[in-house]
Amino acid sequence: MPDLIEDDPRIIEFDVRTDEMLVNMGPQHPSTHGVLRLVLRTDGEIVSETEPHIGYLHRCAEKIGENLSPRQWIPYTDRLDYLAAMNMNLGWALTVEKLMRHEVGEKARHLRVLISELNRISSHLVGMGAYGLDLGTFSPFLYAFREREKILDLFEEACGARLTYSYITVGGATADLPPGWLQRCEAFLDQFEPIIKEYHALLTTNAIFVKRTAGIGVLSRAMAIDYGCSGPVLRGSGVDQDMRRDGESLYTGMYDGYAFEVAVQKEGRYPRDHSYPTVPSEAVLGDCWHRFFVRMLEVVQSMDLVRQAIDRYAACPEPLSEPLKLFEKLPVGDAYLETEAPKGQMGFYIVGNGTPIPWRVRARSSSFSNLSVTHELCRGCLIADVPAIVGSLDIVMGEIDR
């Protein structure tokens, strides 16, 4: 066979030049999580180039932040990553407390760990269910939402809302937990433990699921760091980084005394390999399967944290610390803090100028950077792989477009 150099004239007759087609996947598309438009350049079934177009859900929350006091902006943080609103509130509250050098009481600290880890479980459940939908199986989605409903009921008891809570605020939380809440939370965790094995059996070890995800969309370690990916996407590529352990001392102080391991593959092994299924042979570190598996491990990890938080919270005698006043004077200066949200590192930056209204508010979203990798991952894959890859990044458009 002659050596087929690109500009070899004979190549024309050999290579039937099929013209490439530009296809719009989205913005109204069942498998883009929210309003994302992916322009695919396809050559038959092979996708040669992908370009995400975002901005359909842009509300310029940062501009509004320049007209409201930090406590008034809390409801806007709910709408950033609406699947993990508690973590968003926590991130903003911690940033403002960092600027104002305000320390929260022990009880509030444990309450925050308890609530944010519970919200991580519900966010990962949505991620897992939606990913099953992207790959064509509908049932796991409903199993995941059945469990998430129970968590939402707990949140509803705590703060009255099921999706946009505005519960964790600057200086603590808006209200203390109702009596009996801890027992109900404990009961939920007890019945949730065996269900995790169901999810593993249904998806993680399912032969077709492995075929559709193992070795697809491999994100190399260097590229993950360079594109600023974070959270399960980064840990799925083997980078041992978790803001709850490596972050600012104000944030890691919150997890002081909690025992947990970062869910990342070190030397080819995941921590605490007891009941988890083994990694399939085709799975390459950094592919969709690993990202999915890291999320499943984090659900178990968060359950442990919630149990520890319940004991510590119950052991705190003093009442919950009062949140700061609505219009508290902000010191001059700026502060930036990244917290470990379920989707990745969620950064908030606030610039104070002495008045209660911040001068500049900035939200650095994890899905924004996670999504920017799509054009690298989807190069040369099949059309059916694009939803698999975008689904594995677990993006939320509210957070990306702000």
Binding site: K63, D226, D246, G333, D334, A335, R364, F368, R402
Partner: protein, 176 residues
């Protein structure tokens, strides 16, 4: 080699690049001359100790007091401030770089201030800088694909500027 020695190492590597610094602030930061930001970032990423291999966030803060009464009492001149938050995965250390830019290049309203792009250093800067260009109106020279990312392509104005006026209608849709 963290701590005060770090600042000296940068000044040694790039004499005249470090314009100012503030070590006592909540997040200590260094101010870099606008023209040298790209080289400093490249050095920080590949040769500095510790390696800052991850850019967390790029922000533009518009220092302009629109209210004339307050403007009189204010100590700073109206300017645009670029804030880069860097992160080292190996040493788990943060670093904040600041760059002062004129609000409009040559003080002619409409001409965007120029700053070298760091998209070549960290790929994540590509999208971050596009967002800063889109919302705060800073043009990055050397950026591979400088287009608006959040607002529609043909949107006029830069929303996060303090003196931004929302257009009354956009393609027949009433905005205000």
């Amino acid at each position: 080699m963290k701590g005060p020695g770090f600042l000296e190492s940068i000044e040694a590597a790039f004499p005249g690049a470090v314009v100012g610094s503030q070590l006592e602030a909540l997040d200590p930061w260094i101010e870099i001359a606008p023209a040298r930001i790209a080289e400093v970032c490249q050095w920080l990423k590949s040769r500095g100790e510790p390696r800052f291999d991850s850019l967390q966030c790029v922000t533009a803060v518009d220092w302009l007091e629109t209210d004339p009464k307050k403007a009189a009492k204010v100590s700073w001149q109206p300017h645009l401030e670029m804030v880069y938050h860097l992160w080292s995965t190996s040493a788990r250390a943060t670093l904040v770089l600041k760059v002062k830019l004129p609000r409009w290049s040559g003080d002619v309203a409409g001409h965007l201030p120029e700053i070298p792009s760091v998209a070549g250093v960290w790929r994540t800067a590509d999208w971050h800088e596009r967002e800063v260009y889109d919302l705060s109106g800073v043009s990055f020279s050397g950026h591979p694909d400088l287009r608006r990312i959040l607002c529609p392509e043909d949107w006029v104005g830069y929303p996060l500027r303090k003196d931004y006026e929302m257009p009354t209608e956009y393609h027949g849709i009433r905005c205000r």
